[in-house]
């Protein structure tokens, strides 16, 4: 068994950081970069180096994990920008004013103001569709940070609800709210991809 001091010492070695965060960052990068392994490795490397050098500034601030994913996401967006693929910012939606999307989508009496379009029936052929994958990525980029983290752990990594809540340090109820908002936004954002519903040539 480890003593607390040993754990503390271990928590600040490069090995422990790479062990603890390396693979998770790598998976995230792979997803965001559509499986480009070399690039994912580069960005993970840059992220861990930057985090390592800057770690003293962050002692005690946000959770290490959230902070590191933030750095990685920043680098991913940088990469896209260099490729002239501008991230889509869907609505002004930083973490404040979170009910914006619900207000937009529903009338005061709770009925849909913008009805969900006719798509979502055919799961098979779409997984091969590169345009769709890109569209989904852009919609993900438009989510507020907390929703991104929630959605990422739950839908991409398939982690169970209780585990996600623990990772994000929120209650299960709040996690469900975050996921609900993320789904509403992503679904709305994808409407643009299916202007005529799902009938595609």
């Amino acid at each position: 068994m480890k003593t607390p001091t040993a754990e503390l010492a271990e928590s600040s070695s490069p090995e422990s950081w790479v062990e603890r965060y390396g693979d998770a960052l790598f998976r995230h990068a792979l997803f965001r970069l559509n499986g480009n392994k070399a690039l994912a490795e580069d960005l993970v490397q840059e992220t861990l180096l930057a985090a390592w050098v800057g770690r003293k500034e962050y002692a005690g601030a946000a959770r290490e994990q959230t902070w590191m994913f933030g750095i990685l996401e920043h680098k991913i967006l940088d990469h896209f920008r260099q490729q002239k693929r501008h991230p889509q910012v869907y609505l002004e939606d930083r973490d404040g004013g979170e009910d914006e999307m619900e207000q937009l989508l529903f009338q005061a009496d709770g009925r849909w103001a913008l009805r969900p379009g006719n798509w979502g029936r055919n799961p098979e052929y779409l997984a091969e569709d590169q345009d769709l994958l890109q569209a989904i990525q852009r919609c993900f980029e438009g989510l507020p940070k907390a929703q991104q983290m929630a959605f990422m752990h739950r839908e991409w990594y398939g982690e169970d609800t209780a585990c996600c809540a623990r990772l994000l340090e929120v209650s299960i109820g709040h996690l469900a709210v975050l996921l609900h908002r993320a789904r509403l936004r992503i679904a709305r954002c994808l409407e643009a991809y299916f202007p005529q519903g799902e009938v595609r040539s």
Partner: protein
Amino acid sequence: MKRRHFMMTCKEAAQSISRTQDLRLPLSERIGLRMHLLFCASCRQYDRQVRWLHHIFSTVAAPWREARLGDEFKSRLCQQMRRYEAKAGPGEANPEGKRDATDSKSTDQ
């Protein structure tokens, strides 16, 4: 007293649709949602979309869920992190680390 309607609104139904993906809903909420979906085509559509999203994300992400960095890559990275520390020293953090990254790459070769 707050007036309660018998039927869920679409806004509430959308919430419950999402919640079924993550939680075990209380019986009353499950029944309420069923009832609503029976009569509301838009919410049935949204329900479809939410399930579809779940399916797409899990299919797309599946091959990468178990991905791991190679051991060699990891130990090289650790060495690099140590070198960085020596170079930057305490308090002189370069949060981007970019310039240094290219520097150390070129000196490696």
